[in-house]
């Protein structure tokens, strides 16, 4: 089973990298971008086909390593 974990900074946390990217897009003339925040994507392959079990495994992975919950939140998506 394939899953995607998306880790993003909490909304209250400043993201200087996102801001720099936002500025770069503006200077490239890419119009209409209001704001950019940078995050991370992990594509994970899991053994078995039990979605609930897989979600449990991924939550554990996020809490233990993939996200620093002091500043980040995560979201888990499964490929159909």
């Amino acid at each position: 089973m394939k899953a995607r974990v998306i880790v993003t900074l909490k909304s209250a946390v400043l993201d200087p990298q996102g801001k720099a990217i936002e500025g770069a897009l503006r200077s490239l003339g890419v119009a209409g971008v209001q704001s950019v925040r940078q995050g991370k994507v992990f594509d994970v392959e899991l053994a078995g086909n039990d979605r609930d079990a897989a979600e449990g495994v991924l939550k554990d992975a996020c809490d233990k390593l993939l996200a620093n919950t002091v500043i980040e939140t995560y979201r888990i998506e499964f490929a159909e």
Partner: protein
Amino acid sequence: MKAAVILFPGTNRERDAERALTLVSRARVSTVWHAETELPAGTDLVLLGGGFSYGDYLRCGAIAARANIMGAVRAHADKGGLVLGICNGFQILCEAGMLPGVLVRNAKLRFVCREVNLRVERADTPFTKAYRKGEVLKIPVAHGEGNYTADEETIRRLESEGRVAFRYARPDGEIDETDGPNGAINGIAGIYSEKHNILGMMPHPENYIEPEIGPTDGRGLFESLAAALKAA
């Protein structure tokens, strides 16, 4: 005094730390590989040095914080043993949850490598007894991710419990957050654990211990450690 310097893949300041501990603290120093599960018997101080453990992959210090040896480091601290994390070592201690908060990308996105003025917030801990409260030290920093941040409640607790060890300051000791090297909240450059036996700091006191190199303001920290452990 017996010190253990932990070595992770990508640590690169362990030799400087060893030199400071040997020369100034007169410590017997052993280097401990991250895959070990125990510290050498009789270890008084654990030092996590600077560098780029695991290439800063994922987040600075994130993978090192989960290494085998960290169980033993945590147990040592739980018993009241001293732990000092410098630069990447500070990042590792935060990632391990042994110190609160986190170090994020410098506010201006630049790697900063220069001397800073560092104000000593208290001079009654095992790490700072050789200094005076309010003394301004010259110590270098070299980091890209030293911007200390935590939620409001944590900052309030650190401040009210006297757990800020050092702040980035002007030469006269005044604090100016916007003038600091990395944008850290309240100019925080280093913090203590609840019992003040764990210190994490971004600046490198081990760089400034010999007059041949320049200022020697870093010596006080290593002298303090030696005195504290002798008295214990």
